[in-house]
């Protein structure tokens, strides 16, 4: 069982009290407990069962404008006493930084709404096994599939955030995640792909059969890939890759990258950075949302932000420290975005495939090829050649490259948005990128 609010609050307030006694002028503490149970299957048999129970605390102490922090998984008071003493000592010896402070009191969250983020139901390991049996029976039904690895995880977490201004709040969350990775083989090649479903509520999780089917089909269609020549071409990003481009955008408008001057989007607020029709939202209060939250990791209230309006950048993602540096108020984005998404475009997936006589449909990228200082983008890719709206054959061992400044201006979105992750995008078309192949 995950620890209750009372236990977590007691630990947090013990720490704040001790920090004050030892000379801290301000302090904050997060106490978190997370219990998860995972069952892994491989080739229709039990492969691994894993239970984890993680308890952790992190404390930040301030003396005026000096700051330091500690964290630990050992919550015995003996240990906390030693660590908090060390933390306060370190704070004294750390140079001042004029922007260090707790959040402005009036920005702290006042009401905590029930966002439907916790499901009390428990799925026992035997039931997880039943689900995975069904999943793998479907996933391995085609004889081209030579290996299946599937997994089911139940996670229950609880946390409390408290600070010396009197803020003290937290809530439980849950998640149920099933995934399947399959390997297919033919005479010429061996390929791997996957499918995945994660929900706050057990009853919302995808069917085992549906997952198994998708995982197998997505793998089999990749067999016997070809390598194509180098050329300038239109690229269509599958939703699972398109969301990564949105995440890179979020990284580039984080107030830390902006205040340090290390983002290609610095000084671009109120300028047009995307094509006309593009709108980007970050909506924290979505019911059952995988990225939903009542306040950010400093306790600051979070409102929905329309980050991009008709292609124009409207906000950075601001926390307290970098906000003070930039002379802006925190908008509750310490710790990043919540439910971030591109609003739907106005053409169908089918029309998007048809919008160029020839394009590349990308289902997977590898490598860390996004540079937010310069905006340069270059990654390894796998996908399909699309001609006149039809998937012709699989492609691999190519790279795709461009610069986000140009790529953002050339985005067209389909109208097939779904909320599968915390960050989501409809299928995305970007014209004029360069493919390197043969």
């Amino acid at each position: 069982m995950v620890k209750d609010q009372e236990f977590l609050e007691k630990k947090a307030s013990y720490c704040l009290g001790l920090a004050k006694k030892l000379g801290a002028t301000d302090s904050s503490a997060v106490v978190k407990n997370s219990v998860s149970e995972t069952v892994n299957f491989r080739n229709k048999k039990l492969d691994e069962a894993n239970r984890s129970d993680d308890l952790g605390i992190s404390i930040t102490t301030y003396i005026g404008k000096k700051k330091s922090s500690i964290s630990s998984s050992n919550l015995l008071n003996d240990n906390l006493n030693i660590l908090i003493e060390k933390c306060v000592e370190t704070t004294k010896n750390t140079p001042e930084d004029e922007f260090n402070s707790l959040p402005d009191r009036e920005l702290l969250a006042k009401e905590v709404k029930d966002l439907d983020l916790y499901d009390d139901s428990h799925i026992a390991n035997d039931q997880k096994i039943d689900y995975l049996k069904k999943l793998e029976a479907v996933a391995s039904s085609d004889k081209k599939i030579i290996n299946t690895e599937s997994s089911f995880t139940q996670n229950k977490s609880n946390f409390v955030l408290a600070n010396s201004q009197g803020f003290c709040d937290g809530y439980k969350t849950s998640s149920f995640t099933a995934s399947s990775v399959t390997v297919a083989k033919d005479e010429k090649s061996m390929e791997r792909d996957y499918e995945y479903s994660s929900k706050c509520f057990l009853k919302d999780l995808d069917d085992a059969e549906k997952l198994g089917n998708l995982a197998a089909n997505q793998t089999i269609r990749k067999l016997s890939p070809k390598k194509i020549g180098s050329e300038k071409i239109a690229i269509i990003f599958d939703k699972r890759i398109a969301k990564g481009i949105l995440s890179t955008f979020a990284g580039a408008i984080s107030s830390s990258a902006i205040s340090r001057g290390t983002s290609f989007l610095k000084d671009k607020v109120n300028q047009k950075i995307f094509s006309d029709k593009i709108n980007v939202f970050d909506k924290p209060d979505m019911l059952k949302g995988l990225g939903s939250r009542n306040f950010d990791s400093e306790g600051v209230k979070t409102d929905t932000l329309k980050l991009v309006d008709q292609g124009i950048l409207k906000h950075y993602l601001i926390d307290t420290y970098n906000g003070k540096k930039l002379n802006l108020k925190s908008n509750g984005r310490c710790g990043g975005t919540s439910n971030l998404y591109f609003e739907n475009g106005n053409i169908s997936f089918k029309d998007l495939l048809n919008s160029n006589s020839k394009s590349l449909y990308i289902t997977e990228t590898i490598g860390h090829g996004s540079n937010i200082v310069t905006g340069d983008y270059s990654v390894g890719a796998t996908g399909f050649l699309v001609e006149n709206g039809e998937f012709k054959y699989p492609i691999n061992e190519i790279t795709i490259a461009g610069n986000f400044k140009d790529m953002f201006q050339n985005i067209t979105l389909a109208n097939d948005l779904e909320f599968k992750y915390a960050t989501n995008s409809p299928t995305m078309l970007i014209e004029g990128m360069v493919v390197a192949g043969k």
Binding site: D53, S230, H368, S378, T382
Partner: protein, 470 residues
């Protein structure tokens, strides 16, 4: 050395009896205890941005029956908690009928000292060096717009208690010092990153103002990139410099030679044992025994002493890297490659220091042999799909080669290749093998572990460069 039972209601004797009882009819398993202390001190944007300290304590209890692994971990070292874990393991492995394998090799060799690097240098001294780094780099001219520097230090004590009470332990120091600098000229911004590290004290790397050479290297890379042109797109010859570019070896063949993927036959290498997978003259080893290196270990996380494992000898595939589970199922022995990020994770076969050994050609000869291609000197990271064998790595400093001569610097680009065939494209192996500077972290199944790489300069006859210039 940590005494894990000192402040617990659980005595060592009681723990041993719970372990032996739980693992009775299992094939293998152990209790893994870990106590780690780590610090991070960060200078950024002219200020000390962060000084933090972490202390982490916990255990992971593992029971293995045939292919099935049951695992349970907790932060609380107590009678209750260990008993609950034991119940979890028993309920997963309902009908076990194995014979516990007590055999584990022994060695007295140690590859690093029992020190706590965090305590060896005061906070004020560390802060002073970071401020000196900032002042030094910013004195190099107006083009320097941002400096980030940090210290990461750690001491990890581990203890492995096996069924029957056999106990193995290790204390592992690890440090890293990193510098990142951003420069700007005519509105164009570029960054350069460099660092050093390994399993010894901060001072072993920073004495006599050694940190200046780390700053100089970061600034040099950033400055080169200010002048860079768009990288070419397409297949061409690639010369890799010595040292850090061995990320290629790590991604292209290293992961594919880990035991688990080969037991499951999901690696592109699983049916190539004893066959030619690289050009003659190419020898690759994975070595956990190099003194004080980042990827070195006295014992692995299952208690097996590490070793120098020959993976590819003169082009022929010789060995996979094994932990105990995969070794048993593949009827071979552990190579001391069983590693985990910490007690929260299960053991997997992992790399340590992966190295291609020197040949006898010079880098000049390689450059001369290229009409059109690139010379790649510094890399940011890489990734591999072990099933299709396709891998990438991102270069952060590279030059074009035109008619046997090094030309202008080119922008960072991703290089992509095919693991099982790329080493057959190696046509020259240099005489200048070098270790990386000691900053690498390898990720697998969500677990990061410190690793090293090394190689001489090599010439690859054909590889795809992912630039934008057609």
């Amino acid at each position: 050395m940590s005494n894990f039972f000192e402040k617990s209601d659980l005595s060592r004797k009681e723990a041993e009896s719970i372990i032996s009882d739980t693992l009775q009819k299992c094939d293998d398993g152990e209790l893994y205890l870990e106590n780690s202390k780590s610090e991070s001190i960060l200078l950024d944007d002219n200020k000390i941005k962060n000084s933090s300290y972490n202390s982490d304590l916990g255990f992971g209890f593992r029971a293995i029956s045939d292919e099935v692994v049951a695992y349970s971990h907790s932060n609380e070292i107590s009678k209750n908690s260990l008993k609950q874990s034991s119940e979890n393991l028993k309920s997963t492995l309902k009908s076990v009928k194995g014979t516990y394998n007590h055999e584990i090799p022994k060695s007295n060799k140690k590859y690093y000292d029992n020190i706590n690097p965090i305590e060896q240098k005061s906070l004020n001294e560390k802060i002073k060096i970071l401020n000196d780094v900032n002042d030094y780099l910013r004195s190099k001219g107006d083009k320097v717009k941002q400096v980030t520097a940090n210290f990461l230090g750690e001491q990890k004590s581990v203890e492995i208690i096996r069924s029957g009470g056999e106990t193995l332990s290790d204390v592992r120091p690890l440090i890293r010092f990193n510098v990142s600098v951003m420069v700007e000229k005519d509105g164009r911004k570029e960054t350069g990153v460099y660092g050093v590290g390994g399993r010894q004290s901060y001072d072993s790397y920073l004495k006599d103002e050694n940190w200046k050479s780390v700053c100089d290297e970061a600034l040099r890379i950033a400055s080169v990139n200010l002048e860079s042109k768009p990288a070419p797109a397409g297949e061409m010859k690639v010369v890799l410099g010595p040292g850090w570019p061995a990320i290629l070896i790590h991604e292209a063949v290293g992961h594919g030679l880990e035991g688990d993927f080969n037991r499951k036959k999901t690696s592109a290498f699983h049916n190539l044992m004893g066959q030619k997978v690289a050009s003659e003259g190419v020898t690759i080893i994975d070595d956990g025994t190099i003194d004080k290196r980042r990827g070195s270990l006295t014992i692995d996380d299952e208690g097996t002493p590490t070793e120098k494992t020959v993976l590819i000898e003169n082009g022929i595939l010789k060995n996979f890297m094994q932990d105990r589970l995969n070794a048993r199922l593949m009827k071979t022995r552990s190579t001391g490659s069983g590693r985990r990020e910490n007690y929260r994770h299960i053991v997997l076969p992992r790399m340590r220091n992966t190295m291609m050994l020197s040949g006898n050609q010079s880098q000049e000869e390689m450059i001369k042999a290229v009409d059109k291609g690139i010379f790649a000197v510094s890399f940011g990271g890489g990734q591999v799909d072990i099933t299709s064998g396709k891998f990438v790595f991102n270069c952060t400093e590279a030059y074009e080669i035109v008619n046997g001569k090094i030309g202008s610097p080119i922008k960072g680009a991703t290089l992509i290749g095919d693991g099982p065939s790329i080493l057959k494209e190696v046509s020259m192996v240099g005489n200048d093998m070098m270790m990386d500077p000691g900053i690498g972290t390898c990720g697998k199944a969500g677990q990061g572990v410190p690793v090293g790489v090394a190689q001489p300069s090599i010439l690859i006859d054909k590889m795809t460069v992912g630039g934008t210039k057609l």
